[in-house]
């Protein structure tokens, strides 16, 4: 069993009357890819907000590399190696692709020359090598997703939170980016990914947590989760599992 890098322990978050995340406990193992799936509105992105520090939990604790980070501000968590991408991409539209990535690279490179060199390397790694001088505003959706990934990678993270980096991409684009993600994992980066593209998340993840209505309803290997009755019902509706003849 690999070491746990990130442990979310009984975390809850309320928005007014809505309990967006309710007593959720998940873990991401060192050097592996962990998937986080669930129907729309399950609380996945809120959970990412809690882990990256944009949202404060009402209850529960978050431990990262053996340390309590529950109260740390966003930028402190980034400094410790937690990077995230945004589901709704947030490029710095007034800047070039390179300048976008440089902002992330500056976290661990004070000098402009070093940061630019690091940014160029990351840009090439995610397949933006030929577009570094283009304004970020001119990128396609696929390009913007890659830029999100590049900026996060430029901060040299230990834990990478990927929020639907495959959403909105066509099958060819997905086929191109999946190996990039796998390579990051091979390099030792721990990945926690929210994904709706089932084929990709099932093939990439070693362990999957299923969130529905703010709670973890299942966890396990991709195979276990796919056959889980609660998961099928969460996705397809009450009684669906019976019709499909799934195991309880």
């Amino acid at each position: 069993m690999a070491e746990t890098l990130l442990a979310v322990e009984g975390v809850s978050r309320r928005f007014g009357g809505l309990l967006a995340v309710h007593g959720v406990s998940i873990a991401a193992d060192q050097g592996r890819i962990t998937g986080l799936i669930g129907p729309n509105g399950a609380g996945k992105t809120t959970l990412f907000g809690l882990i990256s520090g944009f949202i404060a939990p009402n209850e529960g604790a978050i431990r990262y590399a053996g340390e309590h980070i529950t109260r740390l501000p966003v930028h402190e968590r980034a400094r410790r190696g937690i990077a995230r991408t945004f589901q709704i991409v947030q490029p710095f539209t007034g800047l070039t692709v390179r300048e976008n990535i440089v902002v992330g690279a500056h976290l661990h490179h004070r000098s402009r020359t070093d940061a630019r060199a690091a940014a160029d390397a990351v840009g090439r790694e995610v397949g933006l090598g030929g577009m570094l001088d283009r304004p970020a505003a001119t990128l396609t959706v696929a390009g913007r997703k890659r830029l999100e990934l590049a900026r996060a990678l430029a901060t040299e993270p230990k834990l990478l939170l990927l929020d639907e980096v495959l959403a909105g991409l066509n099958p060819t684009e997905i086929r191109e980016i999946v190996p990039v993600i796998r390579k990051l994992c091979d390099r030792g980066i721990t990945i926690l990914m929210i994904e709706h593209v089932m084929q990709a998340v099932m093939s990439l993840s070693e362990r999957i947590f299923v969130l529905a209505e703010g709670r973890v309803i299942a966890e396990g290997t991709p195979g276990e989760v796919a056959a889980n009755r609660a998961v099928i019902e969460a996705y397809l509706g009450h009684g669906a599992a019976k019709k499909l003849g799934a195991q309880p």
Partner: protein, 322 residues
């Protein structure tokens, strides 16, 4: 228009002007133009690079002016250290206002309104405080010696303000090429995305506001040495706040030369209007308004923006988001 060489070239050309131009009227115009450019450069650091639109830079201009004047008149301090303390006092006011507003998470128009309110509070305080000369204002004694930072020739004053402008250009240039600058611009473009990349947005904005306030305060200190008089309306009036934000926006916010170009255009048009229509009160403001409307309509990234790829119209940029 990037690079240190350009700055050196522009300053060298401007420094040669008094060798050719001897008219006091012309030099006076240029001094005021450079003074506005300096105040505008202060605004540009925070507003242009950092995207925090202050509507109250008069708070810093006025503090610089008043502190320099009061130290000389009431405490007999020499003008040179007075100038330094005035600049530092402006920076301090900037740091305090910045700490309060940014800690409270004020952004956009809320930030603009609160900075305006601070400047207005200071204006009212200055207009009643005896130490500031209350409604009468403070008059600095005429003493035309370099040791008192006063000069008989306009050219000397011109070179002093030019040196200050040169320093402000160098600061903007250095910020543009530094990590701090990259983070500041990232905060302007998208604060949340910047934070996710490890940027301490509060610290970056506070730093920018302090530098910004110091530069605009230096303009205030110079104002006192040049005109030897300050009152609450001049120092803390909204007119100064408007000039400080108008010049970089017209010239090109977030560019090294934006404030200088903007100040030149705005002041030249103001003078031109006065020449044509006589000295009607408020005429300058009408000219500023017209120029602003034209720039926003046809050159949203300022005059310098007309010459760079970044002149993506705001509407197009938004559409590209979706």
């Amino acid at each position: 228009m990037k690079g240190f060489g350009t700055i050196v070239l522009v300053i060298a050309v401007l420094a040669a002007v008094p060798l050719v131009v001897h008219s006091n009227t012309a030099l006076n115009f240029l001094v005021i133009m450079l003074l506005t450019a300096l105040a505008g450069q202060g605004w540009n650091i925070l507003g242009g690079y950092g995207g925090q639109y202050s509507f109250g830079h008069a708070a810093f201009f006025g503090t610089g002016a008043y502190v320099t004047a009061i130290l000389q008149v009431r405490y007999g301090v020499n003008a040179w250290p007075g100038f330094a303390v005035g600049t530092a006092a402006g920076a301090l006011v900037g740091a305090v206002i910045g700490a309060l507003t940014f800690r409270a998470g004020l952004r956009g128009s809320y930030f603009a309104l609160v900075t305006l309110a601070f400047a207005e509070v200071l204006r009212i305080l200055a207009s009643v405080a005896p130490i500031a000369g209350a409604g009468v204002g403070t008059l600095v004694k005429l003493d035309l010696h370099a040791s008192a930072l006063q000069f008989e020739s306009r050219a000397a004053f011109y070179w002093v303000i030019l040196a200050l402008v040169a320093a402000s250009l160098a600061i903007a240039h250095a910020i543009e090429r530094s990590r701090f600058g990259a983070w500041l611009i990232a905060v302007r473009e998208n604060e949340d995305a910047a934070r996710a990349l490890g940027v301490d947005a509060f610290k970056v904005k506070l730093g920018a506001m302090t530098i910004s306030a110091a530069i605009t305060a230096a303009a205030g200190c110079f104002y006192v040495q040049y005109f030897l008089f300050v009152d609450s309306g001049i120092a803390y009036g909204t007119r100064m706040s408007i000039e400080a934000l108008l010049t970089p926006i017209i010239g090109g916010a977030g560019t090294v030369f934006g404030p200088l170009v903007g100040a030149l255009v705005v002041k030249a048009l103001g003078e031109g209007a006065t020449f044509v229509a006589g000295d009607a009160p408020g005429l300058n403001l009408i000219v500023y308004g017209c120029v602003l409307v034209l720039v926003i309509a046809f050159a949203p990234r300022g005059l310098i923006g007309l010459f760079s790829w970044r002149r993506v119209p705001a509407g197009k940029r938004e559409a590209a988001h979706g």
